[in-house]
């Protein structure tokens, strides 16, 4: 191994090509900056590599999920998952945490759920509202124009509802609901739970030269025609067309390189194809390697100038790590039995959802936990794969033969499920740090996780369980699976929902935050973060849209400051 150096200095070096790296590359390359992007995984061409329209019966084991491909054989995550060969992480004693990585161009944007919810005004000032957690250094009004821009670029469908703390956006028309969704909506009406069109980054009309959705329902396999949001198709390829963006794949970032003046000079990385050590130089460095990976890079950037890692004079890099609270209930609705067959694929996700509805009860102190959740729903005549009709005896009582075969046809499409996605309040016991005793296959020290839910999250999961069971019984159905006190109400494992945020928090005080309100490191003015690591809280709204809006705001600031010669 011989260390070598690229002689060129770029305007901006970006680590990571997912939602955060993608938006930074897009905004900065279009603004005229010369950008070099490092991606640890391989190039990915969705037009050629998407498994759209393939059948489970043509895949091994009917396309069942595996440890290597947890979301199934056809999932777009080519190299990744909660376990990545050669890239371990460790957990402190008593911690249960799982860390999903997607090593490929576009990262997790290739397979994610496209759910695109704006954080609301309360979500930026949670401490002011209930005295828990922390306030953001910015308010909803600061980010609103960037939510507009993000939605206009990526394309999000939805409907104007005017609901509390659930801001409407620049929406494409929503797709009409499926039959089972309308049945669930009726039950929710009776319970006074809002059930409205969902908000997903999927095109229901041609948009910015991209075609509309063809409703095959499999966005998670990546869309060969680019009809949903994904970083390669929407951010990176258009940015490359400017001639201002160079992408280096197979580039595993090791550390931020500091100059003698304490400013970032570039990023050192391992070129996976020959394991050589490389450094790429830039006037500005943007980390968007994903929340925990960004923290890992900073913590591994140790030198005499930065003995605890770059941008870490506060000691807060890696701290206040959050995920989303998840809990699920499945049920069977007899009203859906034996209906005439129809194609219920639709878009790759729910057409209706339930935003949080108890803001006033919480304000009045009538709820046993702080912060809310939204409800995601599923069901219908889905594509048959491994596990279809599992546990049918719980609906049919058992049986075999011609009668069973006929009964199974009747119950096909009558199962529904509800998944809560709720806010976790940051706590001191949840963080990542460098494990002094372990390295990955590239010799890079790995992360060790600490993670704990508080009673606020556990009681929220309880509320989810009770609510979902109530919706099922109101719809005349039977609960098929649920969870009780012995499992903390089925609360997800840390990292399981794949919404890690908060490991390089922003703030208005260098002693209590890593970044300022522009996601610029207090300790290193030409170093920025555009993934979910700057988040101060983790509202129930899925992070990707906020990553995109916040990353856009940061990138505008970088472009402006470069123009003014301040960087």
């Amino acid at each position: 191994m011989q260390a070598s150096t690229s002689p060129k200095t770029y305007d901006v070096v970006i680590v990571g090509s997912g939602a955060g790296g993608g938006v930074a590359a897009h905004v900065l390359a279009l603004a005229g900056a010369k950008v070099c992007m490092l991606e640890a995984g391989a190039w990915y061409d969705q037009a050629k590599q998407s498994d759209m329209f393939k059948w489970p019966y043509n895949a091994p084991h009917r396309a069942a999920g595996t440890r290597a491909k947890p979301f199934g054989y056809y999932d777009a995550t080519l190299e990744g998952g909660w376990e990545v060969p050669g890239e371990p992480y460790t957990k402190a004693r008593g911690t249960d945490f799982m860390w999903y990585r997607a090593r490929m161009l576009g990262g997790r944007t290739n397979h994610y759920g496209r759910i695109s919810l704006r954080m609301g005004p309360y979500d930026f000032k949670p401490y002011s509202r209930d005295g828990k957690g922390f306030d953001w250094p910015i308010a909803y009004e600061d980010l609103a124009p960037y939510y507009d821009k993000a939605e206009e670029l990526i394309g999000v469908f939805g409907s104007a509802e005017g609901l509390e703390n659930t801001p409407d956006g620049k929406f494409l028309p929503p797709p009409a609901p499926r039959g089972y969704e309308r049945v669930i909506q009726r039950a929710c009406q009776r319970l006074h739970i809002p059930c409205v069109p969902s908000r997903l980054a999927i095109l229901t009309k041609a948009h910015n030269g991209r075609p509309p959705c063809h409703y095959c329902g499999e966005c998670g396999r990546a869309c060969a025609v680019n009809a949903n949001f994904n970083s390669p198709g929407v951010h990176i390829l258009p940015a490359m067309k400017t001639g201002n963006l160079e992408v280096r794949t197979g580039a595993m970032a090791r550390a931020v390189v500091l100059g003698g003046d304490g400013r970032a000079r570039g990023v050192s990385y391992v070129d996976k194809k020959d394991r050589s050590e490389q450094t790429v130089y830039g006037k500005v460095v943007v980390l968007a390697a994903s929340c925990c990976e960004t923290a890992r890079i900073l913590l591994n950037s140790k030198s005499s100038r930065a003995p605890d890692g770059v941008a870490n004079s506060s000691g807060l890099v890696g701290r206040y790590l959050m995920d989303t609270v998840g809990s699920a209930v499945g049920g069977y609705l007899p009203i859906l039995e034996d209906l005439p067959p129809q194609n219920e694929d639709g878009v790759g996700g729910m057409h209706l959802y339930m935003p949080w509805w108890n803001y006033q009860a919480q304000k009045d102190g009538k709820m046993p936990f702080a912060r809310g959740y939204h409800i995601e729903i599923g069901g219908g005549r889905g594509m048959p794969g491994a596990g279809i009709f599992s546990g049918s005896e719980r609906i049919l009582g058992g049986g075999y033969g011609i009668e069973l075969k006929r009964n199974l046809r009747k119950i096909y499409g009558a199962n529904v499920y509800f998944a809560g996605r709720g806010e976790m309040i940051p706590n001191e016991k949840s963080y990542c740090e460098i494990d002094p005793n372990a390295v990955d296959q590239w010799g890079i020290p790995v992360l060790r996780f600490h993670f704990e839910w508080s009673q606020d999250e556990i009681l929220q999961a309880k509320h989810m369980q009770e609510t979902f069971q109530q919706i099922i019984s109101t719809a005349g159905g039977k609960v098929l699976y649920s969870a009780g006190a012995e499992t903390n109400w089925g609360i997800s494992r840390g990292g399981e929902i794949i919404h890690e945020v908060g490991a390089t928090r922003m703030g208005d005080n260098p002693k209590t935050s890593v970044l300022n309100q522009w996601c610029q490191a207090w300790d290193c003015k030409n170093l920025f973060v555009t993934d979910a690591a700057p988040f101060i809280s983790n509202a129930d709204k899925n992070p990707t849209l906020t990553i995109t809006a916040l990353g856009w705001r940061t990138s505008d600031y970088i472009a402006d400051q470069m123009k003014k010669g301040n960087l």
Binding site: W55, H61, R182, M383, G398
Partner: protein, 199 residues
């Protein structure tokens, strides 16, 4: 409405693009007709016979589709047990299935003097009737009712996720739809009737 709809990209162009994309050509028709015979990984020849018989007792042929064994379900189950053992690092599932098959043989021998696959159809169903409805199973048969739940799940999911099963249900998706209209009005009319208590 935000964004600009591009008139250059028509619905027709998209559907043509999709139709001409090579990814579509990977359906069953693209498979080689001279597929090599399946090599068993878990079941021996005797167990294989019992599995075929049991699969077809669970999913027999009817006017709409073939039986489970015709749809390749025994092969699916054999391969699935091997897969789960590798994935989970334990062959407990295989042990449960093989244990259940052994019990079926022992019961058939005890009652009828023949192994399960060799017993008459009425004799086979006489044994299944004891374990196919878990709530009705006698206490001493409950262990085997739980085996049968597992075996039924494997058979049923193997069958309905096969090409024959997909056509049987039928599942009508996994294709490009020119315009999404939501729930079919005829289906919604039925649902409305049921919702109002008149259906």
């Amino acid at each position: 409405m935000p964004g600009k709809s591009s008139p250059r990209v028509s619905r027709r162009t998209i559907l043509q693009t999709i139709a001409s994309a090579p990814i579509v050509a990977t359906g069953a028709s693209a498979q080689s007709p001279a597929k090599p015979p399946y090599q068993r990984k878990v079941f021996d020849a005797h167990q294989w016979q019992a599995v075929e018989v049991l699969c077809d007792l669970i999913i027999p042929a009817d006017e709409r589709s073939a039986s489970a064994s015709k749809a390749g379900v025994p092969e699916f189950i054999d391969d699935w047990l091997d897969f789960r053992a590798r994935e989970e690092g334990t062959d407990l599932l295989t042990a449960e299935i093989l244990g259940g098959l052994t019990w079926l043989d022992q019961e058939a021998v005890r009652l009828f003097g023949k192994d399960f696959a060799g017993a008459a159809a009425a004799q086979q169903t006489q044994i299944l009737d004891r374990i196919a409805w878990p709530a009705k199973a006698a206490p001493e048969d409950r262990r085997w009712a739980s085996f049968f739940n597992r075996f039924r799940d494997l058979t049923v999911s193997g069958f309905f996720s096969s090409q024959a099963g997909v056509a049987d249900l039928p599942y009508l998706g996994n294709k490009a739809v020119a315009e999404w209209k939501g729930c079919d009005p005829a289906v919604w009319a039925i649902l409305e009737k049921r919702l109002s208590g008149k259906g």
